[in-house]
Amino acid sequence: MAVVKLFGAWTSPYFYRVIWALKLKGIPYECIEEDLLNKSPLLLQYNPVHKKIPVLVHDGKPICESTIIPQYIEEIWPQPSLLPSDPYERAMARFWIKFADDKLILLALSPSISKMYRASGEEQEKAVKYILEMLETMEDHGLIGGKKFFGGDKISMVDMAFGAVAHWLGVIEDAAGLKIFEAHKFPRLQSWIQNFKEVPIIKENLTDRDKMFALLKRRREMLLASK
């Protein structure tokens, strides 16, 4: 039987996208935790171009990038499906996945990127505004019609692409002492977050909140002190 290995890091929502896809489809895999400040030679060999996680290795062949890996998984193991079969619905799903990717860079937890928990003042204000715009677009355009998930009744790759909003955003807000997402302002998004986190596979596979909060708080203090 072909072996599936997944290289990732416990803080990364991009890593979790792949975990969720594999688990929802019941695919056994071996997880290899990477220290992002000290990447293994094996990871660098499998992803020489970007040197990033996640990387899926199937039967010895590497597949890189958190949007490409789930599509590969979907094509090799089609059931249960995580993308619509209709080409137009699929194009809409891909649109929202791309939107998530474009906007969620700010929530990526590599030390040099997250402007919200490290910066203060003008940079932080800009970042907050950017996140708010993203949330408004999701609320006004993505979740119209009172859908349970972005694709309708079933969880799909689009929901998983927005996973960072459902779980990681809250931790970053706490660590940075910010309140960006207010449930009463985003009722559809609030419902979606609850629906998403209630899916058993998602519930059981979320990064440890307390551990991450402690890490972010430490990072923020270090960065603010060094200015």
Binding site: V49, K61, T67, I68, Y88, R90, F95
Partner: protein, 233 residues
Amino acid sequence: MGEVNIVKLHGIGANPYSKRVEPALRIKGIPYEFIEEDLSNKSQLLLKSNPVYKKIPVLVHNEQPVVDSLIILEYIDETWKNAPQLLPDDPLERAKVRFWTSFIQQQLFEAMTRVVTCDGEIQAKAIDEVQGKMKVLEEGMKEVFPGSGSPSIDGDNLGLLDIMICSTFSPYKAYEEALGVKILDPERNPLVFCWVKALNELPLVKELYPPHDKLVALLKVVRENALRVSSST
């Protein structure tokens, strides 16, 4: 059969993103109407079709809009399953094509845009970046096309990577003349250089691209506008 397919493409003639979609429609033999948009005065139809980004190209198929050039290309491939196929059948090969497509778009194209729209140190850095990434692309393509070391170009059988390479590098001579910058070097990037030359010979490509002088003029205008905007902010 007998299904009606009304296809409209909202775009801008010289825009590289629009230039990705047209070849796909043509090689699959899909009749379409091209609607030239004016970015300073976007049509109501465009704004309605793409409320989130308000950008071109937008493909409208039987009144349903699809946005983003790469998403449009996959949509075309999945809806019109006749040959040629833009993406290979094998999932691992598809992942490779998507990977390099993403690389060309996010790494190369973005850096090339900075070469066109910036000057001074920012431009110099961008040029270095482009040259470094071209090297990576060259190595990557050797892996995607092993053995012969170059893709065989068949005008009736273009794929997604051919389209990406074409829309990004086809006007390389115009870049050289307008900017005095060598994007594509036959010595440093022999595989990609030969590939682009072969693509530029195709009647379809010659038809879709404005003549060299017009491209040079267009690039100069884009650059002047960008520099003027950045110096006034």
